[in-house]
Symmetry: C2
Subunit: 144 residues, 2 copies
DNA sequence: GGTTGACCTGGAGTGCACTCCAGGTGACAT
DNA sequence: ATGTCACCTGGAGTGCACTCCAGGTCAACC
């Protein structure tokens, strides 16, 4: 049995968020002690671990609620749970791929800036080089 | 010169979003034709490509505005731009690492569900196996 | 017996990033 | 002339996921 503070500590959700999750039904009615304070079970904490995974991977709350409903409805929904999680896994895969792609572009940009600096340093240290006619370098972001 | 519709098409930002970006200064005052309609330059579109990278990798608008300000302030800010982008690149790296980690946990869960199904199929086909005393498998999510 | 400190409730407020709307303009096709 | 289409403006509204608040309850320590 864990106090709200302990669970907040362990799961990284704030106490307010835990209450919020209970209110909207993402967390099943948590037990209380005699004073009406929440006492989270091991199972609650385990479920919150799952919620954390799903949330950190961008699953909207509405879908987590659907998943929670499946879990509540017992073993006969395991097939559906697999389907749901696999679809989500696929989305995570795509998220990562997009991130990597964008990251590559950002790194190219960084390299571009580095090149500009290097070039400037070179020009500053050398006496003016013989330069081809036109100028006006039209700056960067024709990026691709 | 591109019409708003074309830019929306190319960059994936809605026309409303383009207007919004201009309003808040993320996009510099876009040129207009005689009728007051926007005509985006090649440079605008290039910049929007950068904005897309940053946005897709989770950079908040406030920070994109800081970056935009650096770009506006000319070449002497290139060092700062590199610093900013490198910090962001680092964050993207961490994002991806977290995503991968959570994904692994989700996949473990999927596998767990698969095992449950497999086990059930086995039990259903065989006659009841000799089973140790206690029951009530306390269900899943003590995940790890 | 008084003061922390951790918790409770219902409900209101926040921040972010858009998104929508009403009412209007100008260019072009039928 | 009459649509209709793509665009314009300022401002209001939306959706999501929290986060905060006022006022209150217990238990425990000084």
């Amino acid at each position: 049995m864990y106090t709200p503070g302990q669970v907040a500590e362990e799961t990284g959700f704030s106490i307010d968020t835990l209450r919020y999750y209970e209110r909207i039904g993402l967390l099943e009615r948590v037990e209380r002690n005699s004073a009406g304070q929440r006492r989270f079970s091991e199972e609650d904490v385990g479920w919150l671990g799952m919620v954390r995974c799903l949330r950190d991977t961008g699953m909207p709350i509405a879908e987590m609620l659907r998943f929670a409903a499946l879990v509540r409805d017992g073993e006969e929904t395991i097939g559906d749970r697999i389907t749901l999680l696999e679809a989500h896994d696929q989305e995570v895969e795509e998220q990562i791929a997009l991130l990597r792609e964008r990251q590559t572009a950002i790194r190219r940009k960084i390299q571009y800036y580095r090149d500009v600096l290097a070039l400037r340093a070179e020009v500053d240290s050398d006496p003016p080089l013989p330069e081809p006619a036109s100028h006006k370098t039209s700056e960067e972001h024709a990026s691709h």
